[in-house]
Symmetry: C2
Subunit: 329 residues, 2 copies
């Protein structure tokens, strides 16, 4: 099953979207918003599934054309967003580029930060930034959305709490990061917006590409029509999603609709390219002593997508342009 | 005006609470939940204010006794929670206790971390923790709640976005903090629950104790009937609330219902005591070479309150007991 949220009010209007992403249908008789559906997922998901089957069969009344640009993030505002750095080879590469060692514990203890769950934007929304000098970067990631997760569960128990899968662009302001990390309180100003793929899908939509813990497909990041990378999200993911969820729920429960991110997808050696410019620049620094690829500029366009074995987009494409933001006077 | 949320569903039932905290009235004709009210505050606050005046005059129909234990956090789940460390003398003290220097920039650049806005609990809810060895501590703080805050505003502009004021206990697991801060991604497992005062109040309720930016009253923290401290929240607050809000909104907007925290209230010299055990232990370490006050144990009771000039509680009392949590098998 695939779901999206039409732009409407603060929380959007829940849509069930056809497998081929061509049609959609509002489901106000089941739930007005995706958060409402997630709040009562066990009861409502089967009913949404019935509507999804009708939509795919072409027999759903009130079906519309699916227009990603008319959609907000599937959860336009969420209650919790925790982003991991699950591809530790990427973290190792970043450290190597600045001549630092990777602590041994990084291979066994997940890195996770809390992100801004009130700053989710749609797949075609502009990325509004005030200043190019902040070092604008994209980060292509896979995310999962959970139902209610009790505190203290094991990774094995966490598997059953993964209800939806999707993609995000975790926009990062690289030049604001060193000072923030130096303060040890984590990212704040350096992680402004997170944009979502037009749809989220239940794990069964991934077929054999989902092993219950990871998505085994390339994640494609394209900047100004140039493919920057397509590393496989199932490769070198040191901490799988159930492990990340269990880590996040160690000392408290997680509410339904919690979004858990993989961090920038990255494969050791980066032979399939990279999912953020920071990694490209680290590779350049290691090879040449300094980076040559600039960060994003106003007007730059970033596309993020994941295709199935038949070349069809699974979640729809993130497709955004960076735009100058003018603060109020 | 004072507001609270009766425990009901996931988001509670909005109550208007009388100034003396004795009576309350649901307002379903105005808004079902506090989030709904905040989503449309400009239109709805005047109507809530009318009901508040009726309630204080004893003329509101359907008025009930106000029972803090029947209430959730005023926002049982929120979309954003950003907590500052606005009392820099506290940060300096903590550093001094471990023999570290305070970077000069800490006096001009606010320390802020994103907290878990899906893990808000009521004023009388138990603090559930699996393991005493995690170093259970309270942190008594003042918080404000905003309406929609545009990105890039100035501290002066931020003043008008402060709609409600209250208290929190930012529960901290001290023994999990060093490893988390060492990873530079900020707090995660070490900041599980945040409990709220039974009510939030509009700033006008504070009278002369509110200067548009700070609350000039002592914040009382009492552990097992012993006053640990009552430092004045208006003293030594290096970064006032408008400055914290502007810092948080530097690179993106903040959604209505954003909670901004002061961090542990602390006065230079700690002559009026402390608002967390960590500060008590730091003072002991500086004086004696090691701390003698233990962290909290199962069964310990923490009370946090703020009284007006007449000795009346403004927000109601946070009054919680630490309780052992048993994870699912």
């Amino acid at each position: 099953m695939k779901v999206a949220s039409l732009k409407s009010g603060r929380d959007g209007q829940l849509l069930v979207v056809s497998r081929d992403l061509r049609h959609a249908v509002p489901v106000p008789d089941i739930a007005d918003t995706l958060q409402q559906a997630l709040d009562n997922w066990e009861a409502l998901a089967p009913r949404l599934q019935v509507r999804y089957a009708e939509l795919n069969a072409g027999s759903a009344p009130h079906a519309l054309d699916f227009v990603p640009a008319a959609c907000a993030a599937p959860l336009p505002r969420a209650f919790h967003w925790a982003d991991g750095s699950a591809y530790v080879t990427h973290v190792e590469l970043v450290r190597r580029a600045r001549g630092a060692e990777l602590p041994e514990s990084f291979w066994s203890d997940p890195l996770v930060y809390m992100g801004a769950s009130d700053a989710f934007i749609g797949s075609r929304d502009p990325i509004e930034v005030e200043n190019e000098d902040w070092g604008i970067d994209f980060e292509a990631e896979v995310v999962v959305v959970t139902d209610d997760v009790p505190a203290g569960i094991t990774p094995q128990q966490a598997r059953q709490h993964i209800k939806l899968v999707g993609l995000v662009n975790d926009v990062s302001l690289r030049n604001l990061i060193p000072a923030e990390l130096g303060k040890q309180f984590g990212f704040y100003q350096s992680k402004p917006w997170t944009s979502f793929s037009p749809v989220l899908a239940t794990p069964d939509e991934l077929g054999g590409a989902w092993d219950g813990a990871r998505v085994h497909l390339p994640l494609r990041a394209t900047l100004n029509d140039r493919l920057i990378g397509a590393p496989n999200a199932g490769v070198d993911m040191t901490f799988d999603f159930p492990t990340l969820i269990a880590h996040c729920a160690k000392s408290r429960s997680l509410v339904a609709g919690t979004v858990i991110g993989s961090g920038t997808v990255s494969n050791a050696g980066s032979e399939s390219g990279s999912c953020c410019l920071a990694e490209v620049r680290c590779l350049e620094t290691i090879a040449d002593g300094k980076p040559s690829t600039p960060f994003m500029r106003f007007g730059d366009r970033i596309e993020i997508d994941m295709l199935d074995a038949q070349g069809q987009s699974i979640f729809g494409r993130i497709d955004q342009v960076v735009q100058r933001y003018q603060p109020p006077r």
